[in-house]
Symmetry: C2
Subunit: 133 residues, 2 copies
């Protein structure tokens, strides 16, 4: 379970609008990016939200990986996207591949601003320390 | 896109083994917990990994929510689980519901140890500040 979880919140995305609104297209692009990064997709689910008074509906796209998951939410009315890439390092260190995948997906949306974050998962297994429930 | 992302890494889970290995059972339980928390499921995907020399295969279960997502990975050979609950607060503040969902799912696995974390997503939209790409 030890691994790396990367997040990015994207603002003012200047990409073609279909990346924010077309679930099938985005889903296919996610699979391509996963393969490009050398990660292994095992299942995929996309969902398109209906339009609202604020504008076209957003998309959620998730790819379950042998190494954990990729999850994307888009807010086309805000030109905004959130990205999560989580890879566990069960069989090997996939951290560089996670970063490659995050970079490709971030680039796809052409954001003017990005807030990035990362954290280590399963730390206690690595460090041997613990916190009571 | 502003919202709350909760994570929990669970160790030494003492729950019945099926919660760590039975994808369909866990998936159904996730939907129940989502409904109990007052959140809205829009789609679900589960995946069971094959057994390895280390033991039975784990499960990934994800529920796409109107409010964002729940994602669970289990490592039965380690008695370990990672949980993610992300809710955006587009139409209302769902933070309390996210915590309710996280608490119910954490309790299901009966962990001896938990490492919890949280972070705010879409901060810049809220604060108005920014970071260049």
């Amino acid at each position: 379970m030890q691994g790396l979880h990367l997040t990015a919140d994207l603002y003012r995305c200047a990409c073609p609008a279909h990346w924010l609104t077309d679930a099938d297209l985005l889903g296919a692009r996610c699979l391509e990016a996963v393969a490009n990064a050398g990660l292994q997709a095992v299942a995929q689910l996309v969902h398109a939200f209906p339009a609202t008074v604020h504008g076209p509906g957003g998309v959620t796209a998730t790819v379950l990986l042998a190494e954990s998951h990729l999850c994307i939410h888009t807010w086309p009315e805000q030109g905004a996207v959130t990205l999560d890439v989580y890879v566990c390092n069960f069989a090997a260190d996939h951290s560089a591949r996670a970063q490659t995948l995050m970079n490709e997906m971030t680039g796809l949306f052409a954001p003017a601003r990005v807030e990035r974050n990362f954290f280590l998962r399963g730390n206690m297994a690595a460090r041997g320390d613990s916190v009571e429930v």
